[in-house]
């Protein structure tokens, strides 16, 4: 079964990435620490008025996620490049999309864990009141994370191997994430309020379309960019 072999490879890569990250510990901890630090700085810069902070909460959490996410994405390829492991990885049989899928899975778990902590910190620091419809908020978060990780992993596969990787990844990634940022923040604000105009639904659909479109596009494009 070719797909069973492929799925085994995807799992092996994801497991390796997560094991490496969790063992290195310094990686996950510092990325989360950065996210929370950014939140604190934003709170200091935008506060201390409680209402202003509550209004800024959604934006602050997403910005903290974006900036610390960039570190996570570069790291996921860094580990391959530092020791020359990428060359060995490219030598294995099987389709290249399994490498992308494995990295994606690893990054998804990593970023979800990170976002959970950042969101919790955001709720506390910015005084957010959780509404009754909070599951919908989780849905928005999930769709946003998927879009972020898809494009982040894709661009990192190139940026991490170029000169000036620290600036190239955000430069490539952030403009592309504008729809995600707008959709996630606007929908979240609507859901945190009373969503009187049912805005959130349209934005959630936009996020879903975005995720599907770029899921297909990045998988197709990855084959072409992973070769040295």
């Amino acid at each position: 079964m070719a797909w069973r072999d492929d799925w085994r490879r995807v799992r092996a890569i994801a497991r390796k990435d997560l094991t490496t990250e969790l063992r290195a510990k310094v990686g996950f901890n510092s990325v989360v620490a950065l996210g929370v630090t950014i939140l604190i700085l934003l709170g200091l810069a935008l506060g201390p008025d409680a209402q202003a902070l509550r209004n800024a909460a959604v934006g602050a959490v997403w910005l903290a996620t974006l900036f610390s996410g960039v570190l996570a994405f570069n790291r996921s390829f860094q580990v391959e490049i530092e020791t020359g492991a990428l060359e060995q990885l490219l030598q294995y049989p099987g389709p290249r999309w399994t490498i992308f899928a494995g990295k994606l899975l690893g990054n998804l778990l990593f970023v979800t864990l990170m976002v959970a902590i950042v969101v919790a910190a955001g709720i506390v620091l910015f005084g957010v009141r959780i509404p009754a419809g909070w599951p919908a908020l989780l849905g928005v978060l999930a769709l946003g994370i998927v879009g972020l990780v898809l494009l982040g992993t894709f661009y990192a596969s190139m940026a991490s191997r170029s000169r000036a990787r620290e600036v190239l990844l955000p430069l490539l990634l952030f403009p592309m994430l504008v729809p995600v940022l707008l959709a996630a923040t606007t929908a979240s604000k609507a859901l945190l309020g009373a969503d009187l105009m049912h805005e959130a639904g349209a934005w959630i659909r936009l996020l879903a379309v975005y995720d599907v479109v770029f899921f297909i596009a990045t998988f197709i494009a990855f084959e072409h960019v992973i070769e040295a």
Binding site: T83, Q91, A228
Partner: protein, 234 residues
């Protein structure tokens, strides 16, 4: 159109490669027949690693062509990868995984059972540190682990880049026994070296890379098909 000779394990013709404006390879031609090991000599920076990496499908040549057991490295890269085993100069291991985990990962990617990985660890003499993280390994131990991964691949053509560096006498003997085993079963090897001594017994002949080209052999042996004997082995 490059017509690779199918009886040659490795056929390289007119290979050119540049990095930016610097031409590293300017028309490299060599061949390796089944059952033989050929040494690729040359000073540091002469492009030996580049030749190996092009054959391993990690780099695309700017000119020329190469084929492994009939598979063209550019157009049939997947087929080539199934044939070759590339031992790079840097081991390419995951420092935060244990030796065992590194090999199990390789086994998963190759579709081999984990038992094969365990057996290979034994063979390279790392069974006693199988559960230790690679970060703590010496350079010699890392090379042995990389060799273990190479064995797992079960390659037909070995592409070895300075394989003896950091190995003690036992390690050298191990490397040679692995190479010999592959040659005996009809495989082949291209070994990049800057020093001939450890491989003297293994190599059938050598080519030397100078200024991006294979240095022409002495006038008595005008054709590159004539073996250049290694001093002391005649």
């Amino acid at each position: 159109m490059f017509n690779a000779q199918p009886d040659r394990a490795l056929d390289v013709s007119g290979l050119g490669k540049r990095f930016g404006a610097r031409w590293v390879l300017r028309g490299v031609s060599l061949d390796v027949r089944r059952g033989e090991a050929v040494g690729l000599l040359g000073p540091n920076g002469s492009g030996k690693s580049t030749v190996l990496r092009i054959v391993a499908t990690l780099l695309r040549p700017n000119a020329g062509a190469a084929a492994v057991n009939g598979f063209d490295v550019v157009r049939e890269a997947g087929g080539v990868r199934g044939q070759v085993g590339y031992l790079a100069h840097s081991p390419g291991l995951y420092d935060d995984l244990t030796a065992r985990e590194n090999l199990w990962f390789a086994a998963d990617m190759l579709g081999s059972p984990h038992a094969a990985a365990e057996a290979t660890l034994e063979r390279v003499g790392l069974a006693h540190v199988a559960g230790d993280r690679v970060r703590g390994f010496s350079a010699g131990m890392q090379r042995r682990l990389a060799l273990a991964r190479l064995i797992l691949r079960n390659p037909r053509v070995l592409l070895l880049d300075e394989p003896y560096s950091n190995l003690d006498a036992d390690g050298v003997a191990l490397m040679n026994s692995v190479i010999a085993g592959i040659l005996r079963s009809g495989g082949a090897a291209l070994v990049a070296l800057h020093e001939l001594a450890p491989a003297r017994a293994m190599l059938k002949r050598t080519c030397t890379l100078v200024a991006g080209r294979i240095e022409a052999p002495s006038p008595e042996r005008a054709s590159r098909d004539q073996p250049v004997p290694i001093p002391g082995t005649d």
